[in-house]
């Protein structure tokens, strides 16, 4: 019988009288104990009896006799009496009677009130209304109920509800509440739309949609590869630089290096025709200390002016670093606080006191309700609370503009000033073409009179209108293009469009391309189309009014009917009313209201450029809008049948495209380091939530760091190994003198770097390819120096402590996971590859968990053992020269305070030689790639390790490595690709 059953039974038998007898051990000494023989005496019944007697004996030993007798005063001795008196007999009888009485009056079973009631008399409502209970049980039930009520009130405090739901949902109050809630994490303009449909995460100071609540992993992928996926990327920060072109370029050149590819000064980009992307480094420190990737866009030149404007788009995690760096290189130290900044919001905040004097962060967010109500009564037309546009968390006193006295460069922080949507997929241009209509001309009468709106003013300028017509032409041609990927990467197109809400379809429709008339299209059209596809948008068409701060503010403030931007519902109602006046619903309005023109900028995003399959997969357009217009464009886009993706999908997008994703794949950037720490904490938490028996035992799997990648240690260890091997060969070839000093120079360089040097990457990429696989690559290999030890040594002298970003594809089975180890195959593994490709790879032998005993010891609460040197010795296998370096018995015993079962405690042993195959690096992203149809992983490997491996491998098997997931012992063969 289990313990629980015994307990139940004890509870049940609580009131039943136990047998009253003298314990046999104290009798005249017949047999030792009675318990061992009880089982033999019979079936179920007797043993129960004996249990009860045992129980009683326990009582007996403690305090004397059975309950009844105890009450009488316990006058019996433990010894058996010699004689019996009548009085004692009477007492025994009385005790028995009382015991029986107790047994009879008390019900068996649970003592709960309802348990006392037969089943057929129980009613559910009795627990609420005790009067439904029989009277004899009412008192007890009342007492129980009070007790439970008290306990409940103790736990949850009564929430003070000051306002009714109706009051809370009133528009002004709702806005106040919204503003309060985004004091810490900024909301994007599409936040409420997303919050209804997405799992939201608070990241980087924003509330962002991570993934939809509905299942759409594959549909989203399909949308990316056949139709269109929409993302809100407004959280990307824009930094504007203005100044003379040469000065700007001179300052910016410190941040980048030509070795890592085109810089800010690339000719195509400076013309404003293309968007460029670079990895920015701290000023003058090129190979070390990168900040992160940015994309940038130059404003096209205006005639006769060298004054240029540049937008740099950065991820929010590295924006602050970048801004500081930009300020230092441009010598922009003079902050400009003045009215330029809150220009968009001052109109409404006028009556309230100056922002400087207020302690709150945003004037709108925390306006006192009293004052607001007053304003409400005073002016019904004015909105009660202002919706936050732009960055809500920034304090109004915080400067956003910096000017340099010496160079005249102005840096402007445009965070949240521009809405950025990303459309991914071959049909994204069709979606855009269907959603937008190039802005229509103004009426003649509007042209004559001056207007506060930007469009009528714009219309007056004939040259601008000419430009607009040309842009509209280009946009029309765009419709005829088959796929977005056909356009040159990074093309920019400026445009002014009508308010897309005016053409909102009544039902969701799927935007489809209109390619059918390609045959009957005339030659000129065809020619234009080809021109567009080959050369991209002509330079002058890249101009847009979106670059002008004044136009942006004008558009934002004059969004549709009133200044009230948030009242989108009202706007839509108004639009509907206007539509209903038109005869056919949904048809174009004859005259659009003058406010409904918005300058937008379309930026083409390149698709997959690496690898052989699915080239230009995932190409798309970025749509830049002035702030405040987010929802006005979002909903019409959604109504064109696009899928919406979150952060999760953008990760998958870059993974499928085979490009590194920020900040996941930038372990050398501060943001990447920060991200890795966060990820480790998160994974560790998740791991610890499982009971120890259900956790993966990573020690046994030989996985040293399943939740993070010790890149630094890896790079250092490989450098050491490489040095040893080179010296070994050098003794033979006596080239020591040339290479050793270089190594000595490279050594003090403490931090590992990610290799981004184009030339070196190209070289490595050539070396990685098996030389005999395909003929056409032969010629390229011929250009590069062939891989031999001297070339490798030269390479290593430059990039000894670097890691390189690689793409690994698994030709056969296997789905790589996060932090899977990339290992070097031994010779027999390659033989295995020769025999059959689809077979599973080699297996890692199971490791021994030397920490088990230590954890046990810790559990017992015994003192920490001072010595544990023998625990860690047996681990090291292959490279004996490394074993001594990292092992330190003392430190390992110190760390045993935070031992977690199944995880290697902190000072890790040699990461490279821990397993039977030598580790080269780890995977930072890995999944089954839907675009390639096999497992694909992205990760980093040590350059030194890679070169060493390549040198050892036969030519036809160059670039073959093994992959092993952290929770598995199975190695899988994979192919390394390095793309430039």
């Amino acid at each position: 019988m289990s313990a629980a059953k015994v307990k139940m039974r004890e509870k049940k038998m609580r009131n039943q009288p136990a047998s009253v007898q003298y314990p046999s051990s104290q009798g005249s000494g017949q047999e030792g104990g009675d318990t061992p023989s009880t089982g033999a005496t019979g079936g179920d019944g007797p043993s129960d009896i004996h249990r009860s007697t045992d129980r009683q004996k326990k009582h007996h030993h403690r305090s004397g006799w059975v309950r009844g007798h105890q009450r009488d005063g316990g006058s019996y001795d433990k010894e058996m009496p010699k004689y019996i008196t009548g009085g004692a007999f009477a007492k025994a009888r009385a005790a028995e009677v009382s015991a029986m009485l107790k047994a009879v009056t008390k019900t068996t079973g649970s003592s709960h009130v309802f348990g006392a009631l037969p089943k057929h008399m129980r009613r559910r409502a009795m627990s609420h209304n005790t009067k439904r209970l029989p009277r004899r049980l009412r008192d007890v039930a009342n007492r129980l109920r009070e007790k439970s009520l008290q306990a409940g009130s103790k736990k949850k405090k009564e929430q003070a509800k000051c306002k009714s739901r109706k009051a809370r949902r009133r528009h002004g109050n709702l806005l106040l509440e919204f503003n309060r809630r985004q004091r810490k994490n900024v909301w994007l303009e599409t936040h409420i739309w997303h919050a209804k449909r997405f799992h939201m995460v608070k990241k980087w100071g924003y509330c962002l949609g991570d993934r939809p609540t509905y299942k759409c992993y594959r549909p989203s992928y399909r949308a990316m590869s056949t139709h269109c996926l929409l993302q809100d990327l407004s959280y990307y920060c824009c930094i504007e630089l203005q100044g003379e072109e040469d000065k700007l370029l001179a300052s910016l050149s410190q941040l980048t290096s030509k070795e890592a590819g085109p810089t800010f000064a690339a000719v195509l980009c400076t013309s404003g025709k293309r968007q460029g992307s670079v990895v920015v480094y701290r000023a003058g420190l090129y190979p070390s200390q990168p900040l992160g990737p940015v994309t940038f866009l130059w404003r096209p030149r205006t005639q006769g002016s060298t004054h240029r404007q540049l937008w740099i788009w950065a991820h929010p995690t590295n924006k602050q670093d970048l801004l500081a760096e930009l300020q230092s290189v441009c010598q922009c130290t003079e902050a400009i606080v003045p009215p330029l900044v809150p220009a968009a919001t001052t109109a409404e905040t006028g009556p309230t006191p100056e922002p400087e004097t207020r302690p709150e962060k945003t004037p709108e967010a925390t306006r006192l309700p009293g004052t607001k109500r007053k304003r409400n009564c005073k002016d019904a037309g004015e909105p009660p609370a202002k919706k936050i546009l732009g960055d809500g968390t920034r304090s109004p006193t915080c400067p956003v503009t910096w000017r340099s006295n010496s160079t005249g460069i102005v840096i402007n922080d445009l965070t949240m000033e521009i809405v950025r949507y990303r459309l991914i997929g071959p049909q994204s241009h069709s979606v855009l073409a269907e959603t937008f209509e190039a802005a229509t001309d103004c009426d003649e009468r509007n042209k004559s009179q001056t207007s506060s709106l930007w469009w009528p003013e714009h219309c007056k300028d004939e040259s601008k209108m000419n430009l607009h017509r040309q842009q509209a032409d280009v946009f029309h041609i765009l419709k005829d293009i088959y796929s977005t990927g056909e356009l040159p990467a990074g093309t920019v197109l400026g445009l002014a469009v009508d308010d897309p809400r005016l053409t909102l379809p009544t039902k969701k429709v799927k935007a489809l391309p209109s390619v059918k008339q390609t045959q009957e299209v005339d030659e000129a059209e065809e020619e234009k189309r080809r021109e567009l596809m080959l050369r991209g948008v002509p330079e002058h068409c890249c101009q847009s009014s979106l670059w002008d701060q004044s136009v942006r503010d004008n558009v934002t403030n004059n969004k549709m009917s009133e200044q009230s931007v948030f009242l989108a519902i009202c706007v839509l109602q108004e639009l509907n009313r206007m539509k209903s006046e038109v005869l056919v619903p949904g048809s174009r309005l004859s005259s659009t209201p003058p406010q409904g023109r918005v300058p937008v900028l379309l930026v083409h995003q390149p698709g997959k450029q690496v690898g052989h399959e699915m080239s230009s997969w995932g190409a798309g357009w970025d749509l830049l809008l002035p702030k405040g217009w987010g929802m006005a464009f979002w909903v019409p886009l959604v109504y064109r049948g696009v899928r919406i993706g979150g952060l999760n999908m953008s990760l998958k997008h870059s993974q499928n495209k085979g490009i590194p994703h920020f900040p996941h794949d930038y372990p050398d950037c501060p943001a990447g380091v920060c991200f890795e720490e966060e990820q480790e904490a998160e994974l560790l938490n998740k791991f610890k939530r499982r009971p120890p028996a259900k956790r993966t035992n990573y020690i046994k799997h030989g996985c040293l760091a399943p939740f993070r990648c010790p890149w630094q240690q890896l790079a250092e260890e490989w450098e050491l190994i490489a040095m040893q091997t080179t010296t070994r060969t050098d003794t033979l070839t006596e080239e020591e003198t040339t290479s050793r000093p270089d190594d000595g120079v490279a050594k003090p360089q403490s931090r590992f770097t990610v290799l981004r040097n184009r030339k070196s990457l190209r070289l490595l990429s050539d070396w990685c390819r098996p030389t005999t696989s395909k003929g056409q690559r032969r010629c390229r290999v011929g250009q590069a120096p062939p891989l031999d030890s001297s070339a490798a040594r030269q390479f290593l002298a430059e990039h000894g402590t670097s890691v390189v970003w690689v793409r690994l594809s698994l030709p056969s089975k296997g789905k790589p996971e996060l932090h899977a180890a990339v290992c070097v195959p031994v010779a027999e593994d390659l033989r295995l590859l020769n025999k059959k490709l689809d077979g599973g790879g080699p297996q890692e032998p199971l490791h021994k968990n030397h920490f088990k005993s230590r954890i046990k010891r810790k559990k017992k609460g015994a003192k920490k053992a001072a010595t544990s040197s023998d625990k860690t010795d047996g681990k090291e296998s292959d490279l004996p020269n490394l074993t001594t370096s990292t092992e330190n018995p003392k430190s390992s015993s110190e760390s045993s305070a935070d031992l977690i079962f199944g995880l290697w405690p902190d000072p890790l042993p040699s990461v490279t030689s821990h397993c039977s195959r030598v580790t080269l690096g780890w995977v930072t992203q890995g999944d089954f790639s839907l675009s390639a149809g096999c497992g694909e992983a992205l990760g980093f490997v040590s350059v030194a390790g890679l070169l060493n491996t390549l040198l050892d491998q036969p030519a036809e098997h160059r670039g073959v490595v093994l992959l092993r997931n952290p929770a598995s012992l199975q190695y899988r063969l994979a192919k390394i690709n390095i793309e430039v």
């Binding site: 009288p17 047998s19 019979g42 009496p81 007999f89 009888r93 029986m100 047994a103």
Partner: protein, 169 residues
């Protein structure tokens, strides 16, 4: 409801020497009953005796025994009880006989009967106590009072119950 039905026999152990009653043991009683059944009814009887037979309660002071028999065969087993002449317990043979006072379908009815029976017995005892002077009489009276005042007892039980409830929470 479907359940295993049994009969509970409330028996009194009659002994010539009352002090030897204290030697009694529930296992001893059970073996004695089994032996008697085997003697009178043979293998069939002892087989019947193995299932559902148990000594539920034994009070060595008063010599009260609850025997449980399966309802199907309790009459047969009951018929063997008069043949018990002695109980072997703790190495001593106690000459005794079992006198069945009550047959009940549940322990509860037996307990109820026992309460009634015991009070009755105490009342019978009271007038007989005269030779030993006041002391014994006093004790018997006290005992009667103790068991005939269920109200007082009940309160005590309630207190106990509450304590136990608190412990459970």
């Amino acid at each position: 409801m479907v359940r295993v039905k049994s009969r509970y026999l409330l028996c009194e152990v009659n002994v010539s020497d009352r002090s030897r009653l204290l030697l009694l043991d529930d296992r001893a009683v059970a073996t004695a009953v089994r032996a008697a059944v085997a003697r009178t009814h043979g293998d069939y009887g002892s087989a019947l005796c193995t299932i559902g037979f148990s000594v539920k309660y034994l009070n060595a002071h008063t010599g009260i025994v609850f025997l449980r028999f399966p309802k199907r065969s309790y009459k047969l087993l009951w018929s063997a009880l008069p043949f018990i002449t002695s109980v072997e317990s703790r190495g001593q043979k106690i000459p005794c006989s079992l006198n069945c006072l009550h047959v009940g379908g549940t322990i509860r009815t037996c307990q109820k009967f026992l309460i009634r029976y015991n009070t009755q017995q105490l009342h019978l005892m009271l007038p007989q106590c005269k030779n030993e002077g006041k002391e014994e009489k006093q004790q018997v009276r006290k005992a009667i009072l103790n068991c005939s005042l269920p109200g007082g007892n009940k309160e005590a039980f309630e207190d106990e119950l509450e304590i136990e409830e608190d412990e459970e929470e």
